[in-house]
Symmetry: C2
Subunit: 418 residues, 2 copies
């Protein structure tokens, strides 16, 4: 039997013509690297191959010879492009056999959704002899764990939710049981409302202070994440060093640091409003409902978020929020007086204690010299006098809207903190 070393290296083989052509983004690779690094397992290579038997055979065979430990994703679904299991069986000198337990599970799953399996689903119940079936309660294709002379191979479905669940419940615990206590760990401090270069100035000459940890700047639509990483130490030492460095980084980022790890700014806003006993309302124009969408993505948001209006037309700004038509005529829909009136209207009409309003020019059309594409006004009302702030956001329509949502949430958080 192949035994994984404590500081094990592992390769990923991602199967799917769509990945090679680039029509599908491979989120699975990142997820696997992240989860397994917490067990001290390092992904040293990723290979993407098309749905062609010879390409798959070659990629898996090479990866097994190089590293002796491989995880595959994709190639297990019900359609004709799924041939991975046969190839792995061949490589391990095993036969495929029909597994009745897998089949019964699949029939039951279909029944719950009021359907019956198609004939093309039967191949999903075939497994290589000697493989451990990793039950998939979230989809139709089980994962498979197979060890033998060529090494260790773990086959996972390509559908992200199913892959993630199997990784968490079946794969990670098996690797954890083999690791000898050395880990790769990271810790993220999330910031928003400050550009990367200004943030770097705030951090100053921090590298020597945090060595041997490393710091990476990860800009995105929600702001800049600051990622601290440490390799090859014990879990306790990793946690202690990361905690110290995170405190330093957080202090230097000031009010722009809003959370740690994968914290969503929307969750921070909801929690602060909850502590203060305030109900939130939203009034959106250019973001079209996405501020409400972000807040309600958080489970349990209903006790803090009352609701909102999407007043995309000027008529609805008046009908639903009571914005005077003369105000819109005089200043335009993207203006300080209108966004103030929207926020005040939201407090009054939605039964909210505090409200945020967003109006702006997301593009590609509608910009002018005075109000270029990316101009967004954020209004706040409730709890104290209404206020408004203007920002100019970069990117295209999608990016501008996502940044406008994040800015609205950031301003809402600041008002809740005052």
């Amino acid at each position: 039997m192949h035994t994984l070393r404590a500081d094990a290296d592992l390769e990923l083989v991602t199967i799917g013509t769509e990945l090679l052509l680039g029509f599908t983004v491979d989120t699975n690779g990142a997820e696997i690297a992240r989860v397994l690094s917490a067990q001290g397992v390092r992904v040293v290579r990723r290979t993407a191959v098309a749905d062609r038997p010879e390409d798959i055979r070659q990629a898996i065979g090479e990866a097994l010879r190089r590293t002796g430990a491989v995880i595959t994703t994709g190639g297990l679904g019900p359609t004709r492009d799924d041939i991975t299991k046969q190839i792995v069986a061949d490589l391990f000198g095993a036969q495929l056999r029909f597994d009745d337990a897998v089949w019964q599970n699949l029939v039951e799953r279909f029944r719950r959704f009021g359907r019956v399996p198609a004939a093309s689903n039967r191949s999903q119940a075939e497994v290589p002899e000697g493989a451990t079936v990793l039950p998939n309660r979230w989809g139709t294709a089980p994962g498979l764990w197979l060890e033998g002379a060529p090494g260790l191979i773990v086959m996972l479905p390509g559908v992200p939710l199913e892959m993630r669940k199997l990784l968490e419940h079946e794969v990670a615990p098996r690797f954890a049981a083999r690791s000898a206590g050395r880990v790769i760990r990271s810790f993220t401090v999330r910031t928003t409302g400050v550009p990367e270069s200004s943030l770097a100035e705030r951090m100053g000459e921090i590298e020597p202070e945090i060595a041997p940890l490393t710091l990476a700047y990860l800009p995105g639509l929600e702001g800049v994440d600051l990622r601290l990483s440490v390799w090859g130490v014990s879990p306790d030492e990793a946690d202690q060093r990361l905690r110290q460095a995170a405190d330093l980084v957080t202090a230097r980022a000031g009010e722009h640091a809003y959370g740690e790890g994968e914290t969503d700014l929307a969750a921070v806003v909801l929690e602060r409003a909850r502590r203060r006993g305030l109900r939130i309302g939203t009034a959106e124009s250019c973001t079209g409902g996405l501020v409400g969408g972000r807040l309600t993505e958080i489970p349990g948001s209903s006790d803090v978020y009352a609701g909102g209006v999407v007043t995309y037309s000027n008529e609805l700004k008046t009908a639903l929020l009571g914005v005077p038509p003369t105000l819109i005529e005089e200043h335009g829909a993207v203006s300080e007086p209108v966004v103030r009136a929207m926020a005040e209207g939201a407090v009054n009409r939605l039964g909210a204690d505090i409200a945020v309003a967003v109006t702006g020019i997301a593009g590609p059309g509608g910009g002018s010299e005075e109000k270029p594409v990316g101009t967004v006004w954020i209004g706040l009302a409730g709890a104290k006098p209404a206020e408004a702030r203007r920002v100019v956001l970069g990117g295209e329509r999608h990016d501008i809207r996502a940044r406008a949502v994040q800015t609205a949430l950031f301003f809402l958080l600041r008002r809740l903190s005052e």
Copy 2:
């Protein structure tokens, strides 16, 4: 000088510790593969390395020796983890020199956003001797194109928007000028409202009919995409074969096929409503504004989409939509009578000709035997008697909400088509 072959192979090297640890998903790799395949350039390998000089040097060096053509992403930003240019200059035996034009462009860009460059931005104006600067109007770090004895290297920033723009405006045209007319092309038929296995049954024994084209099933939150691909033929032949196969696939998918390529269902809905001269309104509960968000993501949606309400609380269902409280008490907020009343209220209160309403249980809490998590009611009103349909959607909160939005748009499209 290195000359790219007509059927050129190319490697990608993605730089960033965060990619190796899996905290960031590499969308750039897919984008590059997709855009360059249209020029007959095939990405044969992707490597992700950490922000460590030796790792970067090794990965780029090996890729150049193997394939002679490399695109890097990342490692060009203003912060300390950006060391790629120095390494590439070393590999090509060149010096780095300060480029004043790049610097002036950067200063101007900062000025537009009301800022001045930080000292850490100066390194972004350094370029290896002999490199062509690819101007970046969308960010601070320019791309670089360098040819020499080791081969061809193209360095692009890692920020997705900037990478995409440079790829489209600077990189793709240069590769197109070198290709000899053989292409890799794909064509997607988008379907929704039908599971993968049922779709496969509808397609039947289609492979021999479309050979040598290949067909892949790509399930996602918006439905199942059917991707047809063809390799190594002339552009005309590729287009003709893809068109024939797409027609066949579309016919077999029936009403579930709603578009081609990257068509967004929201855009199809808007276009159909525009043709019929109907204004759309939305009333959302469990989706919290995401239906409005999808519709307004489409530029020019304001002539068709009036707006909407996010009635997350029961009180707002009554106050904003006129849903009788007794109806909610008797049947619950997730029920046929309530979703009908929401849709009817949206038509009346939003000045819309047709409205879609969504109420459901997105989880993780709130499910029951009778109404499990994933239960979603979609209501439609306007233009003819109100109607409602129930679906049970799989996945976790995020997935259920995304699927609910897509289902709402699909039902809206069907009503607009009747």
